[in-house]
């Protein structure tokens, strides 16, 4: 089922429109190819109720069959109830196995232990809790991947990766990521094309780390704006002056450039001190999987 972009309740910048048929085929090949190389047959992912993880669930199910996908719902006590309901609807529509694992005890247990008496002085700040929750989800998913005997699929998109709007070793950790080269607008376009429920497409994107949080609210920018700017800046290599001529505000350009530059480390593996003649990641370079 295909929805025309015009019917969607948000803007899809025309220069970002993709050929969704080709995207589905390439991503399907990528998913199957990656599993073949690694010797796995199954995939596990964290399903939040948002459009990114919903899309990855659809793509994985299309590529390898819903029976080989495990969706894990990982709510925290402050997570919106509608997130769980939307995630359940995706599970139903995709027809894959699922389970729900609350991370409240893990997260609150940690802060109780770590803060001890200090906690009387006040709650840990919500950013800390949010990041810890993201890493707790990652830890649970990697543990579930053992019993499920599957790879953890990443569900982060290109917009949040470039802006550093991710938790390092949290939501940005995965074995492979089928949608990490798609901007949010392109995720929406592909999700609409694959039949992801309208309610999920319509709601404001949120990391759901605390009540009322929205990505666009926190970043102070709309995805349509950010995506267009990132596309012309990153993919089409336009200079500041050229971007201003195109109508982008200098303040927006500077802010996006700052976010991208300040988060470079989140997109790379950590440096290893070079001491010997051959160092992993520096001059010992192999593909991730090779014949053993």
């Amino acid at each position: 089922m295909t929805s025309a972009p015009g019917q969607l309740p948000y803007t899809l910048p025309p220069e970002l429109l993709i050929d969704t048929d080709v995207a589905r085929r390439l991503i399907g090949e990528f998913i199957r190819g990656h599993l073949r190389q690694t010797g796995f047959e199954r995939v596990v992912l964290g399903l939040s109720g948002g459009v990114d993880s919903a899309l990855v669930a659809y793509l994985v199910a299309e590529a390898i069959g819903a029976g080989k996908l495990l969706c894990v719902l990982l709510p925290y006590r402050t997570s919106a109830a509608e997130s769980a309901a939307d995630a359940q609807e995706v599970v139903q529509l995709v027809g894959c196995p699922s389970r729900t694992i609350e991370i409240t005890a893990i997260v609150d247990g940690y802060f109780e232990t770590a803060l001890g008496g200090e906690s009387a002085a006040g709650q840990p700040d919500r950013g800390r809790v949010g990041n810890f929750a993201a890493r707790a989800r990652m830890a649970v998913l990697y543990d579930q991947s053992v019993t499920w005997r599957g790879l953890v699929a990443g569900t982060g998109n290109k917009t949040e990766a470039l802006l550093g709007y991710t938790t390092i070793y949290g939501d940005n950790a995965s074995a492979f990521n089928p949608i990490g080269d798609l901007y949010k607008s392109q995720v929406r376009q592909l999700a609409a094309d694959m039949g992801v429920p309208a309610a999920i497409l319509r709601k404001a994107p949120s990391a759901d780390l605390w009540p009322g949080q929205t990505d666009e609210g926190e970043l102070g920018l709309s995805y349509a704006e950010m995506d267009r700017l990132l596309y012309w800046m990153v993919d089409r290599r336009r200079t500041d002056g050229q971007l201003v001529e195109m109508g982008f505000a200098q303040a927006l350009i500077s802010r996006v450039q700052h976010l991208a530059a300040a988060s470079e480390y989140k997109r790379q593996t950590p440096p290893v001190a070079k001491l010997t003649t051959r160092t992993p990641g520096v001059d010992y370079l192999y593909p991730r999987r090779r014949p053993v």
């Binding site: 220069e15 080709v22 085929r25 190819g33 593909p287 014949p291």
Partner: protein, 294 residues
């Protein structure tokens, strides 16, 4: 023989698994023989996989490697083009293509243009070949072998055609990218390749035979879409995107004659003129003299 039955082996090699890839080559050679194929073409690095990095030396073969010799023996009377990593006497590593004919290795070509930009890092791991020549084949046609990026450099089809090639064979490991809706031909990469291959066929009045691999390595998915294009620029065979398989087409060498009689572009080429301009450009750009100073 004026008609040649061509087979395009659009395969997905396993990275670093030479034994497994040799087995797949043998299987397809057998299948091609059963179908009466005269010329069977495999993709770039079909025996090794593409993103080798430091596996390059581990999968390298001398050109008299017993495994290649045996593959040539299996090919027998069929002409077969295979892609591998060649280790020279000096232990330099090259991305290479071998023409197997009459049960032996009749020609080895080393990739001359190694891409080192964007997602490519070939010059770190390989040396660049320095000889480009067309060779006679048992097919009754002269053949010009080249590899992937070579076709993004105008001198390659030009020199091969001047050297008498009637079949320009390009073997590739081209990663698919650019899924913009504005692209007319599915993938940006495919559209660019198809445009330039058609131009080469027409400008050199030669057949273009393009075999691109499929499959996934690391982040990239190779797009396939192998093609055979006539000297008039007609697409005679277009393998599907992303799917592996053995695709076949029969070509008629008389098409080369007909096209070249009707459109004698090669006759009117002026290599002496080109050479003089090249000599001047090389001299000027070496910094010895400039046009202004003359």
């Amino acid at each position: 023989m004026t008609r040649i039955h061509v087979g395009l082996a659009q395969i997905a090699p396993r990275l670093g698994a030479v034994g497994e890839n040799l087995g797949e080559h043998r299987r397809l050679i057998d299948e091609a023989r059963a179908k009466g194929i005269d010329l069977l073409v495999f993709p770039e690095l079909g025996l090794t996989g593409y993103l080798l990095q430091d596996l390059n030396s581990e999968v390298a073969m001398r050109r008299d490697d017993q495994r290649l010799v045996e593959l040539a023996r299996v090919a027998g009377e069929m002409s077969v083009v295979v892609g591998f990593v060649e280790e020279s006497d000096e232990h330099q590593l090259f991305i290479a293509a071998a023409l197997l004919e009459g049960g032996s290795i009749s020609h080895v070509y080393r990739k001359a243009y190694l891409p080192n930009y964007g997602l490519f890092d070939e010059r770190r791991f390989f040396g660049a070949g320095s000889v480009l020549r067309a060779v006679d084949s048992r097919l009754g046609a002269r053949v010009g072998l080249c590899i992937c990026e070579d076709f993004w450099h105008l001198p390659v089809p030009y020199l091969l055609a001047l050297d008498g090639a009637q079949l320009l064979i390009n073997i590739s490991s081209s990663p698919g990218r650019d899924i913009a809706r504005a692209v007319e031909d599915q993938l940006g990469t495919a559209q660019s390749w198809r445009t330039l291959m058609r131009a080469y066929a027409q400008l050199t009045t030669s057949f273009v035979i393009f075999v691109n691999r499929v499959g996934v390595e690391e982040a990239v998915t190779f797009w396939g879409g192998s093609q055979v294009i006539s000297p008039a620029g007609d697409v005679l065979c277009a393998a599907p995107l992303l799917e592996s398989g053995l695709f076949e087409v029969e070509i008629d060498l008389d098409d080369v004659r007909r096209e070249r009689v009707a459109l004698p572009l090669l006759r009117d080429e002026r290599p002496d003129f080109v050479l003089r301009q090249l000599e001047r450009l090389v001299r000027e750009q070496a910094g010895n003299e400039t046009a202004d100073e003359q």
